[in-house]
Amino acid sequence: MNAVQNYFQRLSHGFSSWWNRFWFEPSDPTTVCVLRILAGLLGLYYLVSHTADLTRWFGPHGLLPAGVVRQPELLGPTLLDGAPLQQASFHISYLSWISDPTLLLAVHFLGILVLLALTVGIFSRLANVLSVVVILSYVHRAPMITGQLEPLLTMLLIYLCVAPTGACLSLDQFLAARRSATKAPRPAEPRWDVTVCQRLIQVHLAGLYLVMGLTKLAGDTWWGGDAVWWLIAHTESRLVDLSFLYAAPLVINAWTHLIVLFELAFPLLIWNRLARPLLLVWAVVMWLSLSLITGLVPFCLSMLLANLAFVEPATMRRLAGLPAADTKQPLAEHVGAS
């Protein structure tokens, strides 16, 4: 009996020790600050991509009037085993109450200003929270025309709210330095909330990769090795015509299998310090090539962006041209130990 008790005591102690190291060991905010800038740019792109068609989609006599969008038939999932799902919808958007074209444009440009503020890092915390509200409003205004990009973008913006993303590489930091006696920017200190933010992005992303890999295996084409061909064959979506690869079926097979292998390996091996650089480089090649054959450029770039959450702050500082921080231990060291 004592052995069992001891086992559970050791298990509990070991797990809580791991949990606390994993989530709460303070880390340098450089990585999340870079993510703030890039997520801000992605959000800006997302909003700007709506600008020219704003009235066409959401205006009076638009393609998706608010009344039509609220119809239960359009707010999937609608069916489960042939029975309609009687579930409440939580697609809440301030855009649903606006149809006047002038007001719509005014609100739209305010949204762009919010994303701009997040990108340059002015009132970063507030701008981050407002950015989430803005982007979610576009997503919820017409969820049926959203794609793979939106869940990634909102995920990044929501998790970045947890961390002080204006601690470096921001106007906030620059203005704080100007107000200080030394006039020099204060080095950003390692903080636990930075770790929580970064970990949330990492865990979510790993889960998403696993879902991508497993759902691919639910179809014959990815097992059979010809899925990449069926992507190439989308003449109205692809950016480059690689149909000449019909003559090289083994290349198509290899490409297909490598995508699945990567997506299944990522959530397992990305936590290993030695495998991480390899996976991150592999990700660049995979997502860029996929963007060419699927035409899903923003989605593929957003995957690459989210992958940056796995880059160690020290590496990120080097890449961003910042001086080395006086930190205890980089976040990724703990990951590698697992």
Binding site: V68, M144, L200
Partner: protein, 221 residues
């Protein structure tokens, strides 16, 4: 959660009480995330019920993926490109170039273009599922938009599916089979005649014959 090492009070550190609260929130969030992500492709009735309960959080913050095609393709009929087409009054329906096509704008690799494709796919899906008034509601919006914003009076609206070419076509097919835009690679999934009143109000009459032709089939010709 019991603290393994007492690290309280230092700069950037978290207090024990705060750590317990945050740990609880994190654990709950990860549970939500598990259901939201794992229920994307298939979901059991249990998963659907749990997701229904979690919906105020998961859907509001867009963690619920709602069957997004993260598999990219399974070479199913729903995975191919779709387009919405409008035939202006006085044009010849047999003349493909007379039809106005959505997407009609935007860079092919951009979100702007993809939104039109997704609308076409949704319309096709709803038409094939016989999802109540969904197809007519959407297609009426499309026609009304063309009338009021585009200055066009369409008398027909349709959704066409662009089928995919199998690799065998390239090695052994005829020149016409190798042309991805040949008529054989298009299927009409939904079509309706539009009646537009003087005030611009639109009534649609579904063309049933077209729907009968649009049976689900493999994208391979």
């Amino acid at each position: 959660m019991q603290a393994a090492n007492s690290s309280v009070g230092g700069p950037g550190q978290i207090s024990d009480r705060m750590r317990s609260v945050v740990s609880l929130v994190l654990a709950l969030h990860i549970i939500v995330l598990f259901f939201a992500l794992s229920g994307n492709y298939f979901r059991s009735p249990l998963q659907a019920r749990i997701l229904g309960v979690l919906r105020p959080y998961a859907q509001l913050l867009n963690f619920e993926l709602d069957f997004l095609p993260y598999q990219l393709t399974h070479a199913q009929i729903s995975d191919v490109d779709h387009r919405i087409e409008l035939l202006p009054t006085g044009s010849d329906a047999a003349d493909d170039s007379a039809w106005l096509v959505l997407p009609d704008r935007g860079f092919r690799g951009g979100e702007r273009y993809k939104r039109y494709q997704r609308l076409g796919r949704l319309l096709a899906f709803l038409a094939e599922e016989n999802a109540g008034a969904g197809p007519s509601l959407l297609s009426r919006s499309v026609v009304e938009n063309a009338v009021h914003q585009g200055g066009v009076r369409p008398y027909q609206v349709r959704v066409r599916r662009h089928l995919l070419q199998s690799p065998d076509i390239f090695s052994g097919g005829t020149p016409e089979q190798r042309d991805p835009n040949a008529p054989t690679y298009f299927r009409v999934v939904y079509a309706a005649n539009a009646l537009i009143s003087e005030t611009g109000q639109v009534e649609l009459i579904k063309i049933d014959e077209t729907a009968e032709v649009a049976l689900p089939e493999s994208p391979q010709p």
